[in-house]
Symmetry: C2
């Protein structure tokens, strides 16, 4: 059962029921254009990660701004994107298990579909599924460029796995998946640059091994919002996967640029709209948005436009604000905007985006891939 939307088109913002997930449509569009400008003229492809927004509506907006398609992390996300009109999906993740493999291969009859591997088990599974559905799947080899998550070791081991992909019936070797996830939220500019320099060295080592083996490498894909300018300018990557730029987590707002100033390339465009439900003391305000309305894995949300008000604690259905000024007017029924610490798992709790422009609801977009775990 999908939950009812918390708003109607045309409603003034103040009437939107809470908790609700707001998108500032002007800010979203500025982020779309800003990323398009950042990639324009470089010859690189942009394939933003749809795990952030889980919405084919936003995926298609990204394509209208130059993206070649989207990345996904789950087959069910890819299905939601294709069914919503996105014609080119890349599951930038390893897929295990017959049901998921069959669904991926079936999807390749409706859209351009790719995925990645880091083990011969993945290669065999994909090859069998591709043959069963009579499709050819583009398959990249994931290398571990420093994130210590998935990925085969760079160099010869990666080339050996690429050989297996190239020789497997139904598969085509599509290049290297080289995402350095652990570097995205390093605060210092130099730290992030060095992490990506190290990743680039591992990609180069692998490209050389592929060349020695006579295996062409058409694509090196990776990069996130925290580092994409380094990958872009590396001369090695030719596809960028940054996704969070569309919304901007409050945590990303803590990254610093080369001058030691907070990076402000993109704007916060995603907010959780919340209502004051109790003010038991002048210093304590309770909101109706807690752990089921906001993911706190990367820290508490920030109260938009109220630097003196701290969201101090989240329980399941409550958020506790601490006010340094006990006379600050915040009354029961007042509504305010929270900037989530981490957008992706926050989005995953909602069924609807409420798109707002000029203080009025302009769009209700279903979050089609919400809860798409399989």
């Amino acid at each position: 059962m999908t939950n009812r939307p918390p708003a109607e088109i045309g409603m003034p913002l103040e009437k939107v029921d809470t908790p609700a997930l707001l998108v500032d449509l002007d800010a979203l569009e500025r982020n779309l254009r800003c990323m398009a400008d950042a990639v324009a003229g470089t010859g690189l492809k942009l394939r933003p990660h749809a795990k952030t927004h889980k919405s084919p509506v936003i995926g298609l907006l990204q394509m209208a701004h130059g993206a070649v398609g989207v990345c996904c992390q789950k087959v069910s996300e890819a299905e939601a994107m294709v069914l919503g009109g996105v014609p080119d999906v890349y599951v930038s993740n390893e897929i295990v298990g017959a049901p998921k493999l069959a669904r991926l291969a079936a999807l390749a009859r409706q859209a351009r579909v790719a995925t990645c591997v880091d083990d011969p088990v993945h290669v065999r599974g994909l090859s069998e599924a591709a043959q069963a559905f009579g499709v050819e799947l583009r398959v990249l080899v994931e290398i571990d460029v420093g994130a210590n998550r998935c990925g085969v070791a760079p160099g010869a081991p990666a080339a050996a796995l690429a050989r297996q992909v190239a020789e497997a019936p139904g598969l085509r070797f599509g290049g290297l998946q080289a995402y350095q996830g652990a570097s995205q939220h390093l605060r210092g500019h130099a730290e992030r640059r060095e992490a990506i320099q190290a990743a680039v060295a591992k990609v180069l080592e692998t490209k050389e091994a592929l060349e020695r083996a006579g295996i062409p490498c058409e694509c090196v894909t990776g990069a996130g919002t925290g580092t994409f300018t380094f990958e872009r300018d590396s001369g090695v990557y030719n596809e960028l996967q940054a996704g969070s730029y569309i919304f901007m987590d409050s945590d990303y707002g803590k990254n610093l640029d080369a001058d030691g100033q907070p990076v402000r390339t993109f704007e916060h465009s995603l907010f959780v709209y919340a209502t004051v439900m109790s003010r038991p003391t002048p210093e304590r305000v309770i909101l109706d948005a807690g752990l089921k309305a906001l993911s706190v894995d990367s820290g508490m949300p920030v109260v938009d436009g109220m630097p003196d008000v701290v969201y101090a604690r989240a329980s399941d259905e409550h958020g506790r604000l601490e006010l340094s000024d006990p006379k600050r007017p915040l009354a029961l029924g007042d509504k305010l905007r929270l900037i989530p610490g981490h957008c992706d798992p926050t989005v995953n709790m909602y069924d609807w985006y409420v798109g707002v422009r000029n203080g009025r609801v302009e769009a209700l977009w279903p979050i089609t891939a919400r809860g798409a775990l399989l």
Copy 2:
């Protein structure tokens, strides 16, 4: 759009797709009986909190084991319970805003409905809504018994608010909401006992103030899984709201009893079923269940039955296991059970419970109030 279930009835457990939310039906039933036994003969009412399970199926099982109804935190949860057949719901939370108030009052035409207040604004809103729908709402006064969240101050301020409730058209004063949420996860038995002793003192102070004011107090309701035996034996509480007992968070498993041993009154009955999707090194195993499959606000999940394996880090769609024994057999495609650190926000990410008994899928229960934020 509701996501497809990850299983079919009759399927062996090993075939269930992942990530999936498993319920061990035998353990669930033992927990139901254990709580019924703990309350039997005391004269207290049991009104378990449905915010834990968000499923009227489980709410009705609780009623079959003696519960008088359920608690909810949101009006939309209460709606899901009533539409699923639960005839008695108490929203143990303050409700603000005309749309929610109208929905609560409308619901009172279909079921027994109650809620609580800590401010005259709530009283006015409920009274207007009750009159508009021609219903009488049972309204409790929430007092702050030490949780520092919602709640009016105990004693005279609470009695003054109770007077307003009693005099408001369409409302009936129903008693005191006195939940000490901050005490539930205190590790030591003595700490929890003292916290509830302090809460009981605040309830008694308030009951005396009500008595002086000539306002009868028919109900004192509160208690969670961590402390309910103290409230039960207090002589003051007459309704218990414990909810987590049905599943048991791994965090609750760290509470100690009077002998300094982990409390083992209830069993873990809820698990996230996950698949090994990558094993890049002998010491590192990657699962397909991360921040969108598990809430980590109360710590990482525990790997069931594998004390030597540590779930060390969650990213959005990955969980990283660290193995102290690099020879431990855990191969791609193997599936294992994780005990969530915090069940309530974990359940809120799923659409289906997969009920398992004797290694076979016996039930698929929709999580009807998943994402019920309004």
